[in-house]
């Protein structure tokens, strides 16, 4: 088999293995629980008919391995079971909430990059200066800052005291109806529908959650960027570029270009953690995204929902990781000859 073909096959195999492990974790979550599976699936007092049906459906009287395999097939096929609370299909619930989460993360990452990259670059170029120390201190503070605390602090100042921001009640003011779903983003859909009131409200609701997340992302990114750029600044070819008399702007570009792979890899590694942070932020702001759903499910011990949520986040992170790898390969081919 040719080289690219083998690589793809290997990656696919890896993906399958990884998915199975993630599914196994979800499976273990159920097994760990004290609730007997029958109660889990059928409710507090399942009738004999229901019991029999469940045993048949889920293979409850078969060995654990078989159960796991059936479970895996079911989960990977997208069937996450039904929520104990609402009785709705978990998969459906998650899917509906996905755009909210994606939107929040997207804006936050963009804003966070806007904050973090220039700060990190400036700190690296001015290493040892007072500004550098402030930046490093700020970065550490951002790393130590609990997301919920930052969210609450921002709410306290801007919502309660200054009355500039709206209440943390989701993606749009409670008195308004959300726009019809085109993209799933309330903000974009309002714009598309030219509904200025809804647009304004959606935008207002976005500000604090996005800012919270962006600040946290920015802090970590700043430290990461600073480190990567510092490494570049110490290379021989950077010193040579300086010797050639290149301007500060050009040197920044050169340093960034060299540091980009490291920064990208670092961001990639951070992504899973970011999903966790996003969930907490969603929780505080009642955002209505996947994260809030998952956390709510955990509080209420709605295990099918929890399982589905965990599986989804794992799958999402895996997907993003794969995509990031693709981007990295393309960039390497196009931009460098290293």
């Amino acid at each position: 088999m040719d080289q690219p073909g083998r690589t793809i096959l290997r990656l696919l195999g890896l993906a399958v293995f990884l998915s199975l492990v993630i599914v196994a974790i979800s499976f273990l979550l159920i097994k760990l629980g004290n609730t007997p599976p029958l109660v889990l699936l059928g409710g507090p007092n399942p009738t004999p008919e229901v019991q029999a049906q469940l045993v048949g459906d889920y293979g409850l009287n078969q060995p654990a391995v078989i159960q796991f395999l059936r479970y895996a097939v079911r989960m990977l096929g997208g069937e996450f079971g039904r929520s104990w609370l609402t009785g709705e299909a978990v998969a459906g619930e998650l899917f509906v909430r996905l755009p909210a989460t994606v939107e929040l993360m997207l804006y936050a990452v963009l804003l966070g990059a806007l904050i973090g990259v220039p700060t990190g670059v400036a700190a690296a170029f001015n290493r040892g200066s007072a500004e550098d120390r402030v930046v490093r201190g700020g970065g550490l503070l951002g790393e130590a800052m609990p997301a919920f605390l930052l969210a609450l602090l921002l709410l306290l100042v801007f919502f309660r005291w200054l009355e500039l921001a709206p209440a943390p009640a989701g993606r749009i003011s409670v008195v308004l109806t959300p726009p019809p779903t085109i993209t799933g983003s309330y903000f974009i859909d309002s714009v598309l529908m030219q509904d200025s009131i809804a647009t304004r409200s959606a935008l207002a609701q976005l500000i604090l959650p996005v800012t919270t997340l962006a600040l946290l992302i920015g802090a970590t990114l700043t430290l990461s960027v600073r480190g990567a750029i510092l490494t570049q600044l110490q290379t021989a070819h950077f010193a040579y570029a300086r010797a050639q008399g290149m301007s500060r702007e050009l040197l920044t570009v050169i340093a960034l270009r060299g540091a980009a792979p490291t920064i990208w890899a670092g961001a990639n590694r951070q992504f899973a953690a970011l999903l966790g942070t996003t969930a907490v932020v969603e929780f505080v702001f009642a955002w209505g995204g996947v994260g809030q759903y998952g956390l709510d499910a955990m509080v209420k011990a709605d295990l099918p929902a929890v399982q589905g949520f965990i599986l989804m986040t794992g799958a999402f992170a895996l997907l993003v990781h794969a995509l990031a790898g693709v981007v990295r390969r393309i960039a390497r081919l196009r931009f460098t000859r290293a």
Partner: protein
């Protein structure tokens, strides 16, 4: 006077461990001069401070090191007191820099021709056609064949010889007044070394500009430099015209250095090494080169000694303790 360095002092900060004495200055009063049209060779052992001097002058010190005294006057201005912005304008334009090991220092992500163009555009607004022409011209004069083709190459695709020629081209493309070459032939094989040095020498002479060649090889100084500055432990311990210093060195360290290179010394002193034999030697054939030749050597010397060790010389002492 192209470059007048006076009493340059550089301190290198290191995290002194608790209780240790403070570190001595890395550069402890370096003074030398470069005259327009002449080439200064800077020699010294590893760690003597040669590269550090160049970095200090160009304002390229690493953050742990800083200038704590002295002046470096270039075209009337003190480089050590110039702002980084002004220095940036000088670097690569009025002062050219030739690095060692070009293959680790050239930007690996930009094509060779583009780097030559960038070296120009960084210092003045350029017209593309003119910049390209300049780039190709200088590549030719550096001995790079097929410049147009070569211009599209990436640095790692070039041979070490071509890399150093490119480095030389980058240093010269903006017509600097002063060229600083830091061990320009480190790591190259002997033939290439000679080629690059010859090229460097030619360009410096042709353009009538001043140059500093930093090297550990006295032979290079002997062959290519007009003046020599000998560095030891962060100071210039002797400076002067090459013939003078080589013939009658004032500092013991210089003498020790020279003592290790008699052949090159001879070359510098104008005596040929090898070369055509005298056609009808009267007396000893080595007489022209010999330090200890006297009147007696007009007469062919006898073979002194017998057995394993012998020499044909009036003053040969075989078996002496």
């Amino acid at each position: 006077m192209l470059l007048d360095v006076q009493d340059l002092r550089v301190e290198r900060q290191s995290r002194a461990a608790v209780g240790m004495a403070p570190m001595p200055l890395a550069l402890n009063g370096v003074s030398f001069r470069v005259v327009k049209g002449r080439i200064l060779g800077m020699v010294g052992e590893h760690g003597a401070g040669k590269s550090l001097t160049a970095s200090a002058i160009l304002g390229l010190l690493q953050p742990e090191a800083r200038v704590v005294g002295g002046r470096a006057l270039f075209e009337g201005q003190d480089l050590l007191r110039m702002s980084d912005a002004d220095l940036t304008r000088l670097r690569g334009a009025r002062i050219g820099f030739v690095v060692q090991s070009g293959h680790t220092t050239l930007d690996p992500n930009t094509r060779v021709g583009a780097q030559l163009i960038r070296a120009q555009s960084v210092h003045r607004p350029i017209v593309m056609a003119e910049a390209v022409w300049r780039a190709e011209t200088i590549m030719s004069s550096m001995g790079i064949v097929e410049p147009r083709l070569r211009a599209r190459a990436w640095p790692h695709e070039l041979t070490p010889s071509a890399v150093q020629r490119l480095v030389l081209a980058l240093a010269l493309i903006n017509e600097p007044q002063l060229l600083i070459a830091d061990e320009p032939t480190a790591g190259l094989d002997i033939t290439t070394q000679v080629q690059i040095l010859d090229l460097l020498y030619l360009e410096l002479r042709r353009r009538r500009i001043g140059g500093i060649i930093i090297t550990r090889d006295l032979g290079v100084v002997a062959q290519y430099c007009d003046d020599i500055a000998v560095m030891y432990a962060g100071q210039v311990v002797e400076q002067g015209p090459v013939p003078q210093v080589f013939a009658r060195s004032a500092h013991p360290f210089t003498r020790a250095l020279l003592a290790s290179m008699p052949e090159r010394l001879a070359i510098a002193n104008g005596r040929t090494y090898g070369g055509p034999l005298p056609d009808a030697p009267d007396g000893c054939p080595y007489r022209p080169r010999c330090d200890e030749a006297t009147e007696r050597c007009g007469v062919a010397p006898p073979l002194v000694g017998a057995g394993v060790h012998a020499a044909r010389c009036h003053f040969a002492r075989i078996g002496a303790a």
